[in-house]
Symmetry: C2
Subunit: 304 residues, 2 copies
């Protein structure tokens, strides 16, 4: 096994991923933990990271590059947002260095900020590193990071130019948990299987692009009038939201193709909806955060 050059740490709200990265960026060894920043009490981040490094048998003194919510106010070291456009070199120049006894130098990756022409700001923290890890983008491809706060990101020549957040995942969660739309979902048996047809129907309604607020009520009226099974309502609503996100984003950005960063069930849902939208798409590079950490570290001269 090659000697590791740096440690990459992707530390989010609910998860922690620590990797040893070789001189060419390969992930030589990796550990995952559920010790997200919200689970670490009293700001005791150093012992958690020491434990992970010991388990990985990391050589002492390696540069450590950290990205994700670990740089937020609730994290270890708050970093200001860097303005777009920004590439690996700009992020390297904005790394915040902190000396930490027994751990070696820490290098925190700042998040990004973009303000649209109509004056609405947007922010990301952690995704910038995953996007920098996508180093094989074709012109016109847009990077999509699905999730609680989905992000569509325009990259040109390795520079993150602009981005926008769709609150798709969080809107789904609050509507399911607290609105009248969720009542049927909450009453449906929790063990029922996913309903792909219900999902597709929701995507179609969302892709029409007539607007979400005046379409949401269909997630209640379709089952009430017997036109949708109660066990399909959650998938219908999920499809309606994802379809709406795609319709809005395509209208704003007119991408020639989409790169979906993620490989889980949610990424598969987006792939299905993008198929229905007739938009070319592919999965992004795996281990995107580690790849981005390595590229930023290399631009900063940290990779030996």
């Amino acid at each position: 096994m090659a000697e590791p050059s740096i440690v990459g740490v992707d530390w989010g709200t609910s998860s922690l991923r620590t990797g040893l990265l070789g001189p060419d960026g390969a992930v030589l060894a990796e550990r995952q933990s559920e010790d997200g920043i919200l689970k670490v009490e009293g700001g005791a981040f150093a012992p958690v990271l020491r434990r992970e490094l010991a388990a990985l048998e990391a050589p002492p003194g390696l540069p450590i590059v950290l990205s994700g919510m670990i740089t937020s106010r609730q994290g270890w070291h708050e970093c200001p947002y860097l303005a777009c456009p920004a590439d690996a070199a700009a992020l390297a120049g904005a790394l915040q260095r902190v000396a930490e006894p027994e751990l070696g130098p820490l290098h925190f990756v700042t998040g990004l900020e973009y303000t649209s022409p109509d004056g609405l700001p947007d922010v990301m923290r952690g995704e910038e590193t995953q996007i920098i890890g996508q180093d094989d983008l074709a012109p016109g491809e847009i990077v999509v990071l699905p999730g609680t706060h989905s992000k569509w990101v325009t990259v040109e020549g390795g520079r993150i130019m602009r981005f926008r957040t769709w609150m798709t995942g969080e809107v789904f969660a609050v509507l399911r948990g607290h609105s009248i739309l969720g009542r049927l979902m909450r009453e449906a048996p929790t063990s029922h299987a996913p309903d792909p047809a219900g999902f597709d129907r929701g995507v179609s309604a969302g892709l029409e692009g007539q607007g979400l607020l005046g379409r949401l009520f269909s997630a209640r009226t379709l089952p009430l009038t017997g036109r949708l099974a109660e066990t399909a309502v959650a998938d219908y609503l999920s499809g309606l939201l994802i379809g709406t996100e795609i319709a809005e984003a395509v209208a704003a950005e007119r991408p020639t193709g989409v790169v979906v960063v993620g490989s889980d069930a949610l990424a598969r849902r987006y792939g299905q909806a993008l198929d229905m939208a007739g938009l070319a798409h592919r999965l992004g590079r795996p281990q995107a955060a580690a790849r981005g950490q390595w590229r930023i570290a290399r631009a900063a001269g940290l990779v030996r």
Copy 2:
């Protein structure tokens, strides 16, 4: 005082309004109560109504016309939905008559159902009566009933042709109560004054018509980046939602003018947002439910 011809009862989820209506539809006397259907236990609706009629000193035996959620499954007598288009005569023909000892004949007004060309059903219960009460509409005017589930209703020659529901009020409530957007609102002092400038800013963002899901996050990033006071966030979100509703509805219906049914603070907010959208608007007839009950009763031959 003229002799009353009928009793009109507008019985909703959280309120009850009982009126004595004269032969020409005038409201001769009226009582309001907070005994909405959710507050009446064990289906004991008759004693509540008897109490209201006694307080109004209603002559015994008058026909009683009831509209609102009292005709839902949780109400007194569940009525099926009538399909659009429907006018006063159609609603009169669909009245459901129930004999009730000590009260006289009850006449329940059914709600309406409309299915859009793309197969999405919509329903209303109670609003149909308020709309029938708007008997002075000009061609091209659309009736808007703001609220938890806002409705935009197209009426032609006294017939309710089609309608759509925007879940504006409920989406506001769940986002404020349960999403990350609401965190700042929940932390802001509750006694702060309304922020008209914040509301206007939200309306502007919504009227751009770029879609709600990709704009919502601005209710977090604007205060986070110091561009909006924390005490203005709730009004901003309210404006964003109402502006989005108006943009979506105008794109769908292209009204020449809007009649807002309601006279409360919410109706004033809609008026302000409609001004910003450059759309002519006026307030609808007051006591709309009573007027609609009277018109339906007259079409049914119940008014002596």
